[in-house]
Symmetry: C2
Subunit: 135 residues, 2 copies
DNA sequence: GTCTCTGCAAAGTGTTTGCATAGGC
DNA sequence: GCCTATGCAAACACTTTGCAGAGAC
């Protein structure tokens, strides 16, 4: 959280209670919430909180490299405070989004680099299937 | 194209000039166009073509398994007449979307299956970087 | 005190829907 | 002739923007 404060200040951005609350949710959950879900969680604590503030804060965090935006194929984005390009797995029944250990794919970027002539900067790997509880 | 006609009919769906034109664009391009782009290409030939028809047709194709929808992280979906779950690579400069040979990742799904306890149904793999022309 | 942030409402963007007419089969 | 598709406009869902007042530093 020290790092969070520093990173924002280094980017000339202010540390507000709203931003702290939003970031706090993101580092303490595994569920990769959308802006709407974050907003719903904050409403009871910050009754005046606005969805626009959630969006603006997430945008700020994204620019500061504090969160990454996930596009799992739903209508809305999801957010992850783990900014590594780690793979995700989405349950097609209950729609939860889990992380997959990055190590499994260690050689993947090298393979793609040598096959394509692109310079890979990042990757987004999504697997879809039934989770243990839903199968 | 025979297959296309048969597949639609098998699903109780009609084969219309608009649908043929949309599908024809998709099988003859490598650029993975969005609905908007498809619409723009068709406008000169079908002046009465409507964006809603493009969306409805793409939806029909998706349900019939004739196209897949790609979510490369832009504001709109892109469409691909190649329905295999093959990986894509997106240039972060010119935003073109290329295919990557599927063979490279043959063992990936098995790995994920054994590590996660999910039953994987499909995957969407996106790599981002600079294409040969843009670097 | 300055300059960014918040929170409201309004606008924007891609997509979907309702419905009357057109057209595939 | 039946029943689905088209095409227009209006609705929708998520996100962004404008702006006046509040608040971080």
């Amino acid at each position: 959280m020290k790092e969070f404060t520093k990173t924002l200040r280094d980017h000339g951005m202010k540390v507000t209670p709203q931003r702290i609350a939003i970031y706090d949710i993101l580092i303490n959950t595994m569920e990769h919430p959308s802006a709407e879900v974050i907003y719903k969680k904050l409403e009871p604590i910050y009754p005046t909180m606005s969805l626009a503030t959630v969006y603006k804060s997430l945008d700020v965090f994204k620019k500061a490299g504090l969160v990454q935006e996930l596009n799992v194929g739903e209508s809305s984005f999801r957010y992850d405070a783990n900014v590594n390009s780690h793979p995700h797995i989405i349950c097609t029944a209950c729609h939860k989004v889990d992380d997959i250990e990055e190590g499994i794919f260690s050689d993947l970027v090298d393979k793609v680099n040598s096959f394509t002539n692109y310079s890979i900067l990042k990757q987004q790997l999504y697997f879809y299937g039934l989770c243990p509880q839903c199968k």
